[in-house]
Homo-oligomer: 549 residues x 2
């Protein structure tokens, strides 16, 4: 049998548009003699739909489209469809894979394992279903599974998260093909994890594995496609691209003999991050109805990387850089920002904040002139925020926030100031990785795209004369690993200190993180690249005691 | 037996402070000859701790305090403790009630029903536990339950949410007392619901019921105490206050004979809302370490109500009103705002935004003067936001956002402008209810606290000459019920139209709500008064298609 698999990039809730994509791929697969066409998890709705799932009429409409539009396609030919969709039964909602055949819903495979941690909320919407059976597809006994269903192997994971493993039952019933419909978002290291775990399952159960993933970004989550096909020896036969839709074919005959060409495993690296930042930015704009993005260009490394990636993702003609010098901006910053804009070929304009700044100190200070306290540093950042939002409102630009994760973690940023905007592209990228991105962009571009001076100079917010980040913060090569241990690995300060960091530094960093939850509650959505990232991945109370460390 | 019950107001994560409260109440209960002392759900940690629960060392510290500090108190006397706490077993975490007796943890009652909807996330942290047993307390067979455990009665709820009901097993084993340790947040109608459901259980199982609730606000959630005691006839014997801690006593002898005085059931009303807005504001400031609050006084109804409640909650000497007239402010607004501030006895100051406004139009408009587009309306709001945040940063005020739920729902507010601040007191209170609050404040105060002119005049944002809310929005008496049906009841537009509302209006309102998720993602936390409220209660994607209605 020839199976066609569609790695989809759906827009959440856009049922009609997603249906059009699905029927388009189905037709194309028919033309290519497919005997079965498979789509991703919740393909019509898009993943994650969040509380759209609480609207019953929305779910009813999804089902109507499946019954009235999609299933009928299978009536006229012998090519069934397997598609991820919701299923309602007896006032319970399930996350299901439906087999559409001969014009109707022929069978259901209801998801057992519902992820509930990090960015996932499936227990909020769906009921677990334990009773699973295999599907015979053209004679081939198949374990039809939905995403998390395959991620609880007791031989692979030292501490399985769930108390049951649906694969055990399905393979006890004789499955020879593991088919997985996924919507699995990216984080650093995910490629390596998938490409180790999936061949492990192939060998353990002597089964072929087809792993079909969603692609494209939905809000914070970037789905990195990279669908995979393994033969029953665990040899990799196919990998989809990470950043676009893909319709690919698998001949089941090929799955049970040695591979002609084994594809080497992928180790995701800074190139993957760059690629997915582009995808995340492009999709966020497209799916919110924007074409153009604007950002403040400070002459620093963060805004340089954001500008370069945005220019690459949207086309330089759709990116506007705004230079907003204050009395404390240095000449080199302005020069560097202009050089960057010209290297990228993006539009730029300069709007000085002198006049509103002095207008404000005039009405806010007794002596009328700046007194250079922290409030005035924040004021400068907010005046820039005002200008960016004014451009957004008047000229319909999406504003890109340029701050990185290290800053956001320790509160080295101004609420409603440099934090203002629609998408925080780098808010889950630590500062050291921003440098890595800058070097990668120049190296892979084969020329100096980001001016070397921007990469070389010590980072500064330039909100008062001669300010440097390191006046307030530990050096980033010390800060970043502490943040990783505290945020991603949820280690205690004592354990971090035991890793060889100074007590004083660790306690200061943890205190800064804990005390700034109120800011992050109001931060723009950011693209997620780590486990337990700020936003959906880390949900912390604002009003609380801090004695826990 | 004499049972002491402590209706606690814990601060999330403040283990040491909460322990001090707990031991203090225990000592007091001993002095009053209690034979058992009961505390609320997760009493040491406070509810809801959210992702603090993902930090193992935090949970270990909670357990250490229980084992080393709390349990030993019970070694020297015959008075055990029942307290809500986490329990770790075999890499799983449970939400438990612990019985501490003779110096150690004598038994465990692990929560079965974990709420997963609306503002609740318990499936994210805890494992369900089905195997439950009764506890014999001084000879009395008792069903020791944790919060949600009692909310799935198949005779009371037409569609039970969970597939099991722990009460059935516990009462089959002969329980005569239902003891419930709760942390149950308020929403409108909750009093009526509790005071109907609990006596129903008493009568159904012929059991006495002691319902012990947490009190006080934690971020968005306001826990309204109102702990309740019913005898086995379902007669109400005791109700705790809704807005403060309470240590109360129940003599178990009294629970199985007719009540001497039956307390009439409570119907929560606008007075309850006023009381809990005060509590929510007071606790948010206290638990984030603030003493003083500031707000913009526009002369409108929303800021008037916020100012009145803040003055009542924090003391007028701790509230600062800031008048920030623009060229489009009317004289009556300034006069009304001053009259309000003087009625309340709060501090106030006037900072005109003319100069920064013209400084901005000078650098942003070719013609240098205002052109009165939407961007400039937002600009005015953001200049006011700048001033408020400047006051916050320089003078350590918590900024209260004054917008109401109706505005926030349909996006009639400016991001980083009037939406800027630390707590959005009224963001879950619809406009019509803001009027009701204003009238209540004047009536219950016995004088004109909020000037009648503020209540009478048609609402206006005053961001351009002669602007009125009704130029852009349906009248609030039509808007509010549509919002309630769409947001709280998750009804489809078709069903709302069928209730008698115009198609055009309903579709416009739904479109406005759907299109403004991006703004609410960056809104300040607000106090919750309805089911599925913005914030934790309603989690919607930003980037999405809108065809679902």
């Amino acid at each position: 049998m020839r199976i066609a698999l569609a790695q989809l990039n759906p827009t959440i809730g856009a049922l009609e548009d997603n249906l059009k994509k699905i029927t388009g791929y189905y037709q194309k697969a028919l033309e290519n003699q497919a005997g079965l066409v498979v789509f991703t998890e919740l393909a019509l709705i898009g993943y994650p739909p969040q509380d759209l799932l609480t609207y019953r009429h929305f779910l009813d409409k999804e089902r109507k489209l499946i019954v009235n539009e999609l299933a009928p396609l299978t009536a006229k030919n012998k090519t069934p469809i397997i598609i991820g969709a919701t299923h309602q039964d007896n006032d319970r909602l399930y996350n299901a894979a439906l087999l559409l055949e001969e014009g109707e819903i022929k069978s259901l495979h209801l998801k057992t394992l519902l992820p509930f941690f990090d960015v996932f909320d499936e227990e909020r919407y769906f009921t677990r279903h334990y009773d699973r059976d295999i599907e015979i597809l053209d004679g081939l006994p198949t374990a039809v599974t939905v995403c998390e269903d395959i991620w609880n192997d007791r031989d692979y994971f030292p501490v399985p998260i769930y108390d049951s493993d649906p694969l055990e039952g399905l393979f006890a019933r004789g499955a020879r093909l593991l088919l997985n419909l996924s919507a699995s978002p990216y984080h650093l290291g995910k490629h390596a994890l998938r490409e180790e775990m999936l061949p492990f399952l192939a060998r353990k159960y002597d089964t072929a594995v087809i792993y079909l993933n969603q692609v494209g970004a939905n809000d914070e989550l970037v789905f990195d496609g990279s669908s995979l096909v393994y033969n029953s020896r665990g040899e990799l036969l196919y990998r989809s691209p990470a950043d676009k839709e893909d319709l690919f074919y698998v001949d089941t005959d090929e799955l049970y003999k040695p591979a002609k060409n084994v594809i080497p495993p992928d180790r995701d690296d800074i190139g993957t991050v760059n690629q997915l930042l582009k995808l995340g930015t492009k999709d966020f704009l497209k799916k919110t109805g924007f074409e153009k993005a604007a950002l403040g260009l400070s002459g620093g490394i963060d805004s340089a990387v954001v500008a370069a990636i945005a220019a690459d993702a949207l086309g330089p003609e759709n990116v506007l850089g705004v230079l907003m010098p204050s009395p404390y901006s240095t000449d080199h910053s302005i020069k560097d920002a202009v050089a960057l804009a010209e290297n990228l070929g993006i539009k730029y304009r300069t709007i000085e904040i002198y006049e509103p700044y002095y207008a404000f100190t005039g009405i806010l200070n007794e002596e009328k002139t700046p007194i250079l306290d922290l409030a005035e540093e924040n004021l400068q950042a907010r005046l820039r925020g005002n200008i960016m939002m004014h451009i957004a409102n008047r000229e319909k630009y999406m504003i890109l926030v340029t701050g990185n994760k290290s800053e956001l973690a320790v509160s080295y940023c101004t609420l409603y100031g440099d934090m203002a905007g629609g998408l925080a592209m780098l808010s889950d990228i630590p500062k050291m990785k921003v440098y890595e991105l800058a070097r990668y962009i120049n190296e892979s571009g084969g020329k100096e795209i980001i001016p070397q001076n921007i990469i070389n100079k010590p980072p500064s917010a330039e909100l008062r004369p001669d300010q440097k980040d390191e006046d307030s913060l530990p050096p980033y090569h010390i800060l970043d690993p502490i943040l990783k241990m505290y945020l991603e690995e949820t280690l205690s300060p004592e354990k971090i200190i035991a890793e060889g960091y100074e007590r004083e530094t660790v306690e200061k960093v943890v205190r800064m993180v804990d005390a700034s939850e109120f800011k992050r509650k109001q931060a723009a959505p950011g693209l997620r690249f780590t486990p337990n990232s700020f936003g959906r991945g880390r949900r912390m109370p604002v009003a609380r005691g801090y004695q826990h460390w």
